[in-house]
Amino acid sequence: MAHGWARREDARLLTGHGRYVADIAVPGCLDAAFVRSSVAHGRLCGVDCAPARRVPGVRGAWAAADLPGLPPVPLTALAGMSSAEVVAGRVWPSLAVDRVRYAGEAVAVVVGEDRYRAEDGVAEIVVRTDPLPPAVSVAEALDGSVPLFEGLDNVVLERSVGVPIDEAVWGRAAVVVEARYRQQLLLPSPMECRAFLAVPEKDRLTVWCSHQAPYRLRRELAEALDLPVERIRVVTPDSGGAFGSKSATFPEYLTVAFLALTQGAPIRWIEDRAESLLAATRGRGQDQRVRLAADAEGLLLAYELRIDADVGAYPHIGAGLPMQTARMATGAYATPLVHATVRSVLTTTMPTYPYRGAGRPEAAFALERSMDVLADRLGMDPAELRRRNFIPPERFPYETPTGRRYDSGNYAGALDLALKTLDYDGWRAERVRRRASVTALPLGIGLSCYVERSGGEEGGLHEFGGVEACPDGTVIARCGTASSGQSHQTTFSSLVAATLGLDSSRVRFAEGDTDELADGVGSYASRSAQVGGPALHRAATALIGLARERAARLWRLPVGEVAWSGGTLSSRADDAVALDLGELVRVTGSLRVDERFESGMAFPFGTHAAVVEVDPGLGTVRVLRLVAVDDCGVMLNPAAVEGQARGSIAQGIGQALYEGVPYDEAGVPLLPYGLLDYLLPTFTEMPPVEVRETSTPTPWTPLGAKGAGESGCIGTPAAIVNAVADALGVTDPDLLRMPLTPDAVWRAARASAVGSEAGSTVGEGL
């Protein structure tokens, strides 16, 4: 504990001295606000900004036609997830040019002396659109009647992994589960919405942004604005949460940076919640069809996953993201045949992006939901079915049929600990008791054994870390990561201090400033501990070596004769010959090591188990207990890992039960009361959660840490939906679609009340 605080971040964040983008005071800074399309799809016939320009306090108002040099949204060629081919002919303009393709698309921008005045200007702008039919679902977009880009297909990408499965395999199987699932669109909803501040200086542009990948933002801004990278500095100060949603270069960022440069004034855009709910990134969005075949003993024979992904109005990272789902389709099982296909489809909704879990929740859900259905069909305990099919520990590294090379795992270990922690047998007895009672609410138990992937994709598995010794004896550690609440300052300072043998008070940590370190990657894909940690470890180790070499030269000793201990260099032969690290720097000059580290992909895993109780009359689901056993290898900071687990579980519960975006007939999101309509879980919705861990290190890094932080989004939803199905005895897997809102559960309960009580009436289950 530093000065009585458990985390270094706490001293400022608990006292009101954190510094988020909106807190940064820049003299003369102007506020931008955007005019957004109120229609989902239409031809843009005219935008009249003139009335806004007459509003007191408004400094300017522009539509696309007024800003000829405004660059479009760049393609993020991240890990091969998107490609020039996908994007060709489907340009995403920063301000809509002649067509709007989703409700909330930015059509014009107003800059005012403050946000109040900017919004006054927005209110005056007249947008004329000639509506076109919307297509807010994949099914509507696939029928071809609503092309988003003239002459181009709404399907932007079709790929597959694994080998197509011979039809005979399904015929031979004792049981084949066929099901359709829906991964609804979700709003990541960090408590701080997006925030961007551009400050033009003499020959540079400094950008402050709540962002997960400052170097990527710098590179993409530089390319778009046609500036050398050195002329842009990106700083990510404190960030109020990201969850994947703050990793891109958004239309608003480009517009504001462009205006700051052309107007020569500092301008910021602090997204408000209404904009965020309409126009910030959304995650998930898949229609899935599965077939899962097993023999009579429950051994899996084949699994097929077909994904129609909703990627929104413009093909961006979201177009390739479903490939994550496809590649992770194998899950935790030694299924010999697995085949997954992806079709990415444009719809008239805000483009999809990664959201915590990013492709893995969709994979885990489809498989784990199907496993419970299969167990039911086989009359087998779902835990036993899984145990029979797990990839055993001795088969790692394991090449999956869907092209992944799993590093390490002990899936049965996590399952066993979860069952024990839950008191699986006790709850099963309670379920039996309740089934026999006419007054007890039905209770169900659900399991979900997930495998995820952390660190990133090929080409993005590296990170940069640096360690510098200062003349005053302190050490600065730098990393290319960017925290949005993950305690990097605490964790990485401690890691570097421990590696150097120093008290952690001597280590300062700097990240999220492109001027601090030449290059970096960022914090997404659960990569910071796994990839950034070893980069810092390597740099600290190298610093010790360099310090010993310097001391050896100074003392004219062989390096082997120089010892390093707790920040002090000494001669092994003569204790009196010793130098503190700070003295060494003062004598020999600056001492800094910057390193690059490249990890392999790691595959964290675990088992989540849920117990739920359903009120069949209303369809409400109450989660009574949730157990999460996660294995992320070696934990660098167990408290931070547990915190991440708990937070991601809350978001997993949100997907399972509460969160979703309804659209009206015109294709506009129906969220008139914002967060009173898009329901994030509150304290009341949280069940008692128990978090446990097993530890199976990754062999690919010296620290053995795999990524952490997304497990709840990945593992929890299927556990809850399985539990609801178990409680109600729902045998048709198509009936329970997330979010399991009360009306959906009530209908499923009614449909599965054996369909026997014909002519069911209102008030049933009163």
């Binding site: 309804p662 304290f683 009163l766």
Partner: protein, 317 residues
């Protein structure tokens, strides 16, 4: 989400406030708790040119029992109803069970009952209570004061009998005697959301026979409604001990039970639900039926639990 500009006055008396309204009419809005108004202004769905802040008007914060009723001034905050002692007997219990469903403590620190009725959102809890108990709403304009019964007051979503030149000065709720059992039951998707349906019940039971019933429904129509047909069906019904499980979930109330019967009538006859996301009309009717049934059971339990206090019936049935 910043409000548009407006003029702002802080009258010291009701007379000054209604004087300002008389001048400005539809261009003005009364600001009391502001917990809905300021949100609407932030969304620029409500664009008053004049905001009349009545928070410093003397006397509007009064809450008192007189002439068989609870007189609730326009500035009485939701928070005041958190204690059942806010009104004697069953009314206090009903109000305190209702208020915990309204938003959360910081909103309840500022929001007011009168403001809620003025905003007239169909899902608002106070609407169900006001209509269910047939409260009187006092409207004041420059021309004078008039009293409107709650069932005449609500015209539809955000539409009421209150004219632009008028303001609510108080709400009067009838006291309930100790032969009345009360309940308030609400269903919503999470604690943060609006009520999908809410039900307020006051049931008079004498010697095991229902002699009077009030059932108010929120979000079961485009405005709060009273389930009058269901109420009628209950009059004269003998209720045995079948409600003795205070909250019946799994066990079905049969159609033969007066509560089950009334619940179905309320759902199919009295309610006129509007489809909304995650709740079509069929589901809304189902919820009305379930909640009315449960609220009636709870009200009967409440009546029984407080039977000792009425000094007459003692133990009934």
């Amino acid at each position: 989400m910043k409000p548009a500009a407006f003029d702002y006055i802080v009258p010291g008396t009701v007379g000054e406030a209604v004087g300002a309204l008389a001048e400005a009419g539809e261009r003005a809005r009364i600001l009391a708790g502001g917990q809905s108004l300021i949100l609407e202004m932030r969304c620029r769905r409500c664009l008053p040119e004049l905001v009349v802040d009545i928070n410093r008007v003397q006397g509007l914060d009064q809450l008192r029992v007189e002439d068989g009723g609870l007189q609730v001034g326009a500035l009485v905050r939701h928070r005041a109803f958190e204690s059942p002692r806010v009104a004697p007997g069953p009314l206090g219990r009903l109000l305190s069970r209702t208020v915990v469903n309204i938003a959360h403590p910081p909103i309840r620190a500022l929001g007011t009952m009168a403001g809620s009725l003025a905003w007239a959102h169909p899902a608002a809890e106070w609407g169900a209570v006001a209509v269910g108990l047939d409260a009187d709403i006092e409207l004041r304009g420059r021309a004078g004061t008039r009293t409107v019964a709650a069932h005449d007051y609500f015209h539809g979503p955000h539409r009421t009998e209150c004219r632009p030149q008028e303001m609510i000065t108080s709400v009067r709720l009838p006291l309930l005697d100790d032969t009345v059992g009360v309940a308030f039951v609400e269903h919503r998707r999470t604690r943060a959301g609006f009520a999908q349906v809410a039900v307020a019940v006051a049931l008079t039971v004498l010697d095991g026979v229902i002699t009077q019933a009030f059932i108010g429904l929120a979000n079961a129509a485009d405005r709060p409604v009273r389930a009058q047909v269901a109420e009628l069906s209950l009059i004269g019904a003998e209720i045995g001990s079948s409600f003795s499980d205070p909250v019946i979930f799994g066990s079905a109330l049969s159609d033969g039970h007066p509560f089950g019967h009334a619940a179905r009538i309320a759902a199919e006859g009295d309610a006129d639900p509007c489809a909304q996301p995650y709740a079509d009309v069929e589901y809304q009717r189902q919820v009305v039926a379930v909640l009315v049934g449960r609220a009636l059971c709870q009200a009967a339990s409440d009546r029984q639990a407080h039977a000792g206090h009425d000094g007459s019936a003692g133990e009934w049935r």
